[in-house]
């Protein structure tokens, strides 16, 4: 079923930051998704030319609606269209949700360390949402590496959760611009900051890392070097040519 192209209708579009938008899609016959899965979106030009890109599902609901959050790459082919041009009421084609590896299930009992670079937050947010909606008590910790506070996705929701949820801790790294009152200058994520911030290896966390390929490679490498078992680390690479961010 996940290999079939299906028609999805755009039911909502809400800016998530200056360059991104969360898009709600209604997919007839869809029966939810697992936290961490992605869909493929196919756009067709009027001469039949098509482009396909993957987008993580931001919500892990059990109904016919799913949400994605797309970050615009100014020189990209598909993301500017999805962020700027696509309108509520439009239709497009989707395949999925797919993926059974980079997923979190409410029955998983381990503590969880999530590490996001930029738009890599999307599948991790669906895990956080599924975790919050579940009775699962195991602690979650999120490390979110961002260019600037304004670039953050789900800002209000994460703020509220980090204040109110007893089972979620959120840490930020700002690479270009820090929020007012932040101690220290913007800086890239380093191995030291990473290891000082994530759950210790002794806690045996399941680790999910998501972001641009370079970010994922670098972070996963540091963790393996520091003694986290490679088998505990799951990664999702968003491709693209972008470096660390």
């Amino acid at each position: 079923m996940s290999t079939l192209w299906r028609v999805a209708e755009v039911v909502s579009g809400v800016p998530e930051s200056e360059t991104s938008r969360t898009i709600g899609l209604r997919v007839d016959g869809l029966n939810g998704s697992l936290a961490g899965q992605h869909i493929d979106i196919r756009l067709t030009a009027d001469d039949g030319y098509t482009a396909v890109r993957s987008y993580s599902v931001a919500t892990a609901g059990m109904d016919e609606i799913l949400e994605i959050t797309v970050d615009e790459l100014t020189d990209g082919e598909v993301s500017p269209y999805l962020v700027r041009d696509l309108m509520v009421g439009d239709q497009l084609e989707i395949r999925g949700p797919v993926g059974g590896w980079f997923v979190w299930r409410p029955t998983d009992t381990n503590t969880v360390q999530l590490i996001a670079g930029g738009s890599g937050i999307v599948p991790l947010m669906s895990m956080i949402r599924a975790h919050e909606a579940s009775e699962n008590p195991s602690p979650f910790r999120l490390l979110y590496s961002l260019k600037s506070p304004e670039a953050g996705f789900y800002r209000e929701e994460l703020l509220t959760l980090s204040r109110e949820s007893p089972k979620l801790t959120v840490d930020y790294v700002y690479t270009r611009k820090v929020p007012p009152g932040w101690a220290g200058a913007p800086k890239r994520l380093t191995a030291e900051t990473l290891l000082a911030t994530v759950l210790p290896a002794e806690a045996g966390p399941d680790i999910f890392i998501c972001g641009q390929t370079m970010f994922v490679e670098t972070v996963a490498g540091w963790l393996v070097q520091a003694g986290y078992p490679a088998t505990s680390i799951k990664t999702e690479r968003f491709g693209g040519t972008g470096g660390l961010r």
Binding site: L43, T44, D46, G48, Y49, S54, E93, R237
Partner: protein
Amino acid sequence: MGIISSGFHGKRRTGNAAIPPGQHETGTFPVLTAGPAPYVARADWEFFITTEAGQRHAWSWDAFMALPQVDIRTDIHCVTSWSKLGTSWRGVSLDTLFEDVETASEFTTAHSYGGYTTNVPLRDLLGGKAWVAWEFDGEPLERAHGGPARLLVPHLYLWKSAKWINGIELMREDIPGFWESNGYHMHGDPWREERYS
């Protein structure tokens, strides 16, 4: 044709919709192998299919060459991000090799001389999608590229197209092969960038 997205024109930057996302075109034929290339003489070469019930079908080089041979023109895509368009091959369709094979399995493991393995779902081998190829560009397949014969499953990343192919084992379960045990994807569809697990 699918649903038209009005206002979407696409960039067609590569000028070629045949190139999957994250890939670039190459004119050469890079060689990527984990270890030294095994040497297998045609006289010693054999291709087998074993079923989950333990039945074994096998072809010597001569028996294999007596099967219907087809020419294949196809694009190939390596997970290290190169794609080579319009390559030409000659070989035997897996449909031919599976004609007398009775199986209920959905999964297979391809075995190579030298010990390499890779898992490929049976549906990705049948239906005109895969071949055992022994000729490239009109010449016998070079040893570096898998000669005497290699699997050719061009719609998946090239690590699925096992070089120095020895046989296909039908499996009750999907068991990861060499690269799949090392972080690579169980399926490997370039159009979905199924690169890593």
